[in-house]
Amino acid sequence: MFIYIVRRLLSTIPVLFGISLILFFLLRSLPGDPAQVIAGELATQQEVELIRQQLGLDEPVYVQYAKFLSRLVRFDLGKSTRTQYPVTQEIAPRLLNTVILAVTATLLACLLGIPAGIIAAVKPYTAMDMVVTALALFGMSMPAFWLGLMLIIIFSVKLKLLPVGGSGGFVYLILPAITLAAYLIAAVARNTRSSMMDVLAQDYITTARSKGAQEKTVIIRHALKNAFIPIITVVGLQFGSMLGGTVLTETVFAWPGLGRLLISSILARDYPVIQGAILIFALLFVLTNLMVDLTYAYFDPKVRYE
């Protein structure tokens, strides 16, 4: 298992390089002149040149990249062109909010999706299964931002039960978390169902039954552990999609997170922040995938003991 972990960690490095490369070229491929943008429209030619020198934009590309990398490693992401504060300072508190939202949504997805999938798999093609399957399909077809708006209309406008948006306590977390989780709950339920159904069709399940184990035992002790591996993989993959979805959900609910920062930066052309935010998102995703692979190693005896 040790070798597996090391190998997995090592394979992350080229990916991280690639990400930094893409982000670097993201800024470079912008229409227009970054120095001009940062200097502003009223700047003189001299001021623009000065800024260009300051930013090192007059140097060859590979030098710029090297400098970019060296700054990255020191967690220096530059300064926001809007607020002039360091990008890391802008990102940090909002990152926390987004992580809270994402983790809550993931927990919801597992707590609701996995049992639903199990129930559907154990009694396939019955009414219960049809309901779960249909709901899951609906959940995967619904645009999250629309769902958020509908929930606001129902719970905030009509019923006046929950706040429309913003943050400041648990009550503000409910609707955004549900909205963000919807797709994930559906995906997890569907995958749990198919994974369990595959497992329940295996020979070793028949063996377990022939030993005189109760059906309940068969499902929990024999089937579930085997079904977990594909389920975890899916949670990991879809977590990434969910991270992308935070941009939309946070906008709908005015949740002060990284997603909302990203979109406001895009609209304001605050390129250092855009770059920083996307970098953090990508890192989060890579980290999650890494964790998924490591959990995989724990669950699969073939990997764990070799």
Partner: protein, 298 residues
């Protein structure tokens, strides 16, 4: 069985199986009610989008401030928006935009993704390594954020939306194609073809491509739905199709500020998105169940 018959068997069997394979697939599909329902939804979507300017008389851009923000009525079945425009008309014409975007992005993703996947999977070696590392990096971005990053560089508007969404879906298509090629490459009939000296290009085209088509068709169908949601998301955020174009997501974006006064403005475009995506998901699932549930999917 003589030796000659044995030698002819692999190639003929391939095509013959393929033929009846499609036929059983079609009958299986038709028996799946959910899949047929999905197909009908899509048919409705496509037909109404294509035929709208011909059969539908109302102008989606016609403003009538005196009748702004009216709830659904007999005159205006889905109500009017803040400029008095007919929401029904805008949704129907918005369908054309969604159709165009999804077609464009899927086409882009397939046209570039499939060849890369085929080459990467079939030839292996250095080519595969490079393509895979690039795909890895692209896949480490959440897809929607990739699209978002691209529009922030390329700019707003329908053309850039198509490009961004297409590129966002590209790595996934490459992966799937490659995975499929890898499993088919090991099949005996490919070895047989190679043993008789068939050129690589012909093998790719005649043996591998037809078998790769099924998962690609299924994933492309599902991708249609995703493309619509992505485009709508971009529109909602204001970085996709711009107003006054009646793109469904853009309509949701403008309807957002009106949820207190006129919730119907935000409700109906979302239902349209939901139904279209639902249709594609049902269709994609149905195709997968009908054509071959075993052929490795992700």
């Amino acid at each position: 069985m003589s030796d000659q018959e044995n030698r002819k068997e692999p190639i003929r069997k391939d095509r013959h199986e393929e033929f009846s394979h499609w036929r059983t697939g079609i009958s299986k599909f038709l028996r799946n009610r959910a899949a047929c329902f999905g197909g009908m939804l899509i048919l409705l979507f496509v037909l109404s989008s294509l035929l709208a300017p011909v059969f539908y008389s109302r102008d989606p851009n016609a403003q009538d401030i005196r009748h702004a923000l009216e709830p659904p009525s007999f005159e205006q079945p889905l109500g009017t928006d803040e400029l008095g425009r007919s929401i029904l008309a805008r949704i129907v014409f918005g369908g054309r935009i969604s159709l165009a975007i999804s077609l464009g992005s899927v086409a882009l993703a397939l046209v570039f993704g499939v060849p890369f996947g085929l080459v990467s999977g079939y030839f292996g070696g250095k080519v595969d390594f490079i393509i895979q590392r690039i795909t890895d990096v692209l896949l480490s971005f959440p897809p929607f954020l990739l699209a978002l990053a691209l529009v922030s560089v390329l700019g707003v508007g329908i053309k850039n939306t198509i490009i961004s969404v297409g590129i966002a879906g590209l790595p996934h298509i490459i992966r799937i194609t490659r995975g499929c090629v890898l499993s088919i490459r090991e099949q005996v009939y490919v070895e047989a073809a190679r043993a008789v000296g068939t050129r690589d290009g012909i093998i790719l085209f005649r043996h591998i491509l037809p078998n790769v088509m099924v998962p690609i068709i299924v994933n492309a169908t599902l991708f249609f739905g995703m493309a619509i949601i992505f485009a709508a998301g971009l529109g909602f955020l204001g970085v996709g199709v711009q107003p006054p174009a009646p793109e469904w997501g853009t309509m949701l974006g403008s309807g957002r500020s009106l949820i207190f006064a006129a919730p119907h403005v935000a409700t109906f475009p979302g239902i349209a998105i939901f139904l279209a995506v639902l249709g594609f998901n049902l269709l994609g699932d149905g195709l997968r169940d009908a054509l071959d549930p075993r052929l490795g999917y992700e």
